[in-house]
Symmetry: C2
Subunit: 346 residues, 2 copies
């Protein structure tokens, strides 16, 4: 699809106006606003062309124009001019990330809140990829008669726990050497490494101490997998109520339901790949989100891997503003995390 300069100018203005006001854009308003001097009739002719290309559409036969999915797509791919981020917002980000955090996840969850506040949409944040996170320690704490709490800690400050019944035929004391073995042999290794060794040499070693270690090692594997699971944080759930005003209650409910099922959401957001990706309306492979847009971006923390942040908003989201903000935020977050690792890392 090739557009003339003027057509692009018009499309850009339509998207800008419509995402700002939510009202279909008419030829007269465009004629007044555009830097070129043409009459509204000329604009109308151009708009007819844009419409026949499927980039804009009418809401009814005599209404102004609204961008189509294809139009937003073209805008984002070719026309967008990210808004410069206001110094105010930069300051807000920096001061919100400025305090002392005790865990990576605190920074990440705080980030979801900042991002949702800045954008007025809904924000998702994921910590740096877990391939890089390492086992810091494993402990047992007796709870009651035959119940024990298994606790696993990773070097990014994540703690996972699970209570379990000590299998018949073993006492809690007998498990102590196994715990020591795990700490001696596995601490400092990445979680995937540890998971791998759980299927190879570890069972052999453990069987020196306990006759049937399967039950216990299953628990350990369980907690380990829980720690290795994709975690992520959501900020601005409530903003949904603003930006999907004309939706019915049922679709609101399904959206909220989706926001509560981490697995589905993690699937939708996906893995770090492109620096920034914009998916609009039905480009998102989930029917519940077919009236929304999703911006995902990665951030790099050097050798600690990549993480992701994402923004969910209406298809008529203010792309230029949000993309500017997300881009600025990636940078600040990466800085903060580097700081954190430098301070606490090995």
């Amino acid at each position: 699809m090739t557009l003339t300069e003027r057509q692009m100018m018009i499309l850009r203005a339509i998207v800008r106006d419509y995402t700002n006001s939510g009202v279909p854009v008419g030829s007269k308003a465009l004629a007044q606003q555009l830097p070129i001097h043409v009459s509204s009739a000329t604009i109308r002719n151009e708009m007819a062309t844009l419409e026949s290309s499927g980039l804009i559409k009418k809401t009814h036969s005599s209404s102004g124009r609204v961008p189509s999915i294809k139009g937003y797509r073209f805008y984002v791919d070719h026309l967008i001019q990210p808004d410069p981020v206001r110094q105010n917002d930069i300051n807000l980000i920096q001061s919100s990330l400025g305090s002392d955090f005790h865990k990576i996840d605190d920074i990440i969850s705080q980030s979801a809140n900042i991002l949702s506040n800045l954008t007025s949409y809904t924000a998702f944040t994921l910590p740096p990829e877990l391939q890089e996170s390492r086992l810091s320690g494993f402990r047992l704490v007796p709870l009651g008669k035959r119940q024990v709490m298994a606790i696993l800690v990773t070097d990014d400050g994540n703690v996972q726990n699970r209570a379990f019944d000590v299998p018949e035929g073993i006492t809690a004391d007998q498990l102590e050497p196994v715990v020591r073995l795990i700490n001696d042999q596995l601490v400092g290794h990445t979680l995937p490494d540890v998971l791998a060794r759980l299927n190879t040499d570890i069972p052999v070693e453990v069987s020196h101490y306990v006759t049937s270690p399967e039950g216990f090692l299953a628990i350990f594997g369980d907690v380990l997998r829980k720690a290795a699971q994709e975690r992520f944080y959501i900020g601005g759930r409530l903003n949904v109520l603003n930006y999907s005003d004309d939706q019915d209650v049922d679709s609101l409910k399904s959206l909220y339901q989706l926001l509560d099922t981490n697995d589905d959401l993690a699937d939708i957001i996906g893995k770090p790949s492109n620096q920034m990706q914009v998916r609009i309306g039905n480009e998102i492979t989930n029917d519940v989100l077919k009236n929304y847009s999703l911006i995902t971006a990665t951030y790099d923390v050097d050798q600690h891997g990549q993480g992701m942040i994402a923004i969910l908003g209406p298809t008529r989201m203010q792309y230029s503003r949000v993309i500017g903000l997300v881009d600025a935020f990636r940078e600040e977050l990466a800085k903060k995390l580097l700081d954190y690792y430098q301070h606490y890392g090995e």
Copy 2:
């Protein structure tokens, strides 16, 4: 306020009809439905009396009647006949609570979901009072260069953790004897006990091992207090969207905001006292809830203390149905928890 038998019969019917249908109740419908044979005109006369007593009101000058806050109050205090709980629902409760849980809190959070499903309103659940929960263990796990994760476990399966920097002048190794001391001296005691001793003999004992233990003991106290904090669970957040249909978006937002601030909610729900308490509309000391009703009930787990469950719904909640359900649920939950403690407790 004294009402005749007939007036009470009419008020009861108005509340029942209105809470079921949400439509103002007229004299004709009542005349047909009531077991006595009087004309609608007679009913109208009685309704006028009830209205002048402030128990019912009109939505406009020629509408049917709707109960007032005062009317609901009278109904709940004097007229209510709790619905018998269907065997179906009992079965649902029992099977939902039937699986094997690893923590008290899993049972409690599951309870919030069951209750909200059963009632179609929003449910809150709190574990048995924490005065009774005991310290099971305290562990440290080194994280990075100078960072350590402190982990505290209580006998009801609650795990709290906090990362901290080892104070200058102490090494992580030096803390080991202190951790041992805490485990030797404090495990098995209730959290309030432990907190008390943290201000008396413990600092003295610890100072044998470490020269300036204040920093570390502050951390320990921190985690301890976190574990002793009121925890609670919410189920059926989404149901709000159903039962407050005629509210505007702003009040919805404030309600959701309230649901996200545990402290305020804990205040509103309060401490275990009466077996069951019904607060209607502005009887709740919070403006956001002035159009809602809150039913709170306690449950007893013998020597393990009392917990609470609560239901939030519209003022025109189906009181008789919900009160029946809540009452049945208290019993089942208490049974389940006793089971749990018997199985795992000391």
